[in-house]
Symmetry: C2
Subunit: 204 residues, 2 copies
DNA sequence: GTCTATAACGAGATAGAC
DNA sequence: GTCTATCTCGTTATAGAC
């Protein structure tokens, strides 16, 4: 499809990852093929197999790169300072950016297909969620300490809820082709946590 | 695989739906085949095509049956009375029951694969979510009126958040093979809404 | 209603030339 | 690094016998 300029320094490799990533995020790991990627890049399937021996290796490389990029974004949020609620909003905006591209979170998509994934990919997906939970729990603890975030139960539980709520909101919003649906939920979620209110209840 | 007794009154048809439903909920619509279903039922693929001409028809029948069953459950919750928070908890328990079976919500799974689905299936998926939002919004409004549920914004927005949060919690919990993760989130969600607290904030 | 048989296609993957 | 050519298998689907 697209014209082919001569490949330089891992350019093909990253192009393959770019196209595959978009296809997985929109169609799922079981919903795209080497042929799709090859056609779009104007190369052959055999060339793909040179860079990634099998779909399993390609899939795992996708998750690792995605998780790295996501972690970089989290570091960036921490680096630029701001209040805990602002950081939480920035976190939600990461998801929103994905959805505005008409994509599902890569790992949210793979979570749906989890039982059909090669084992290495499964581990990478779980690691992605673990990293998110850890980062969020730290943010939530800090926010609670400084009195800017309020929630019941442990920070880790709240973190799990946030990740789940954002992933689920993306999942459903995509069926409506309506990113605004996500925005409403994300705003509610952040505002609920940032709202000043008494937290006077039991834990689960 | 399973032994075959002679088919009576639509029994084969419903067996096909049962097996297919489980396969879609665990592996996805693009992750199962007629061969899988046929093997498990001990019949041939050709027999499947007699009952459901194509995968599209089978898929749509799955959603319709699932949505009907879900709606029956909602009617059941309404029928047995109880407080709005109790009904909300019962709603969350519907999801939990699915997850304890190591399944994803059928329509949550299909939402992930949305862009690869035949158009009739897409419409049925959206209808499922619409029905859920409608039912929940009605419950939320009633709860707010009687002072047992508290939330900011419109009931419909809150309903969208609840559906998304439950779907997302299922999605992630399944990757951990840990239904308890869902339980924690569901309990938090219900408790947050049932908690008596001032609602003194702006809408999104 | 269910079977056998087979068509038609696409998937993931490999060998070996350039 | 990329190609052509090919292989093997799985998938959806149909024709026609029983």
């Amino acid at each position: 499809m697209a014209l082919r300029r001569s490949a330089e320094a891992g350019e093909t490799r990253s192009s393959i990852l770019d196209v595959s990533e978009r296809l997985v995020q929109t169609r799922g790991f079981n919903g795209f093929s080497y042929a799709d990627v090859a056609a779009e890049l104007g190369i052959t399937k055999a060339a793909l197999h040179y860079h990634f021996p099998g779909k399993s290796e390609l899939g795992n490389a996708l998750i690792v790169r995605y998780a790295d990029r996501f972690n970089d974004a989290l570091v960036g949020i921490d680096a630029q300072g701001g209040t805990a609620p602002a950081k939480l909003r920035a976190y939600a905006d990461l998801y929103q950016g994905v959805l505005r591209d008409e994509r599902m979170c890569l790992c949210g998509m793979l979570a749906a297909e989890y039982q059909t994934l090669p084992v290495p990919m499964r581990q990478s997906v779980v690691r992605f969620f673990d990293d998110n939970h850890t980062w969020l729990a730290r943010l939530l603890k800090a926010g609670r300490s400084e009195g800017t975030l309020h929630f019941s139960g442990t920070a880790h539980e709240a973190a799990q809820m946030i990740v789940g709520a954002l992933e689920g909101a993306m999942l459903v919003a995509r069926s409506y082709g309506d990113a605004d649906r996500f925005e409403v939920v994300a705003t509610r979620l952040v505002d609920e946590l940032a709202a000043s209110r008494p937290v006077t209840r039991r834990r689960a």
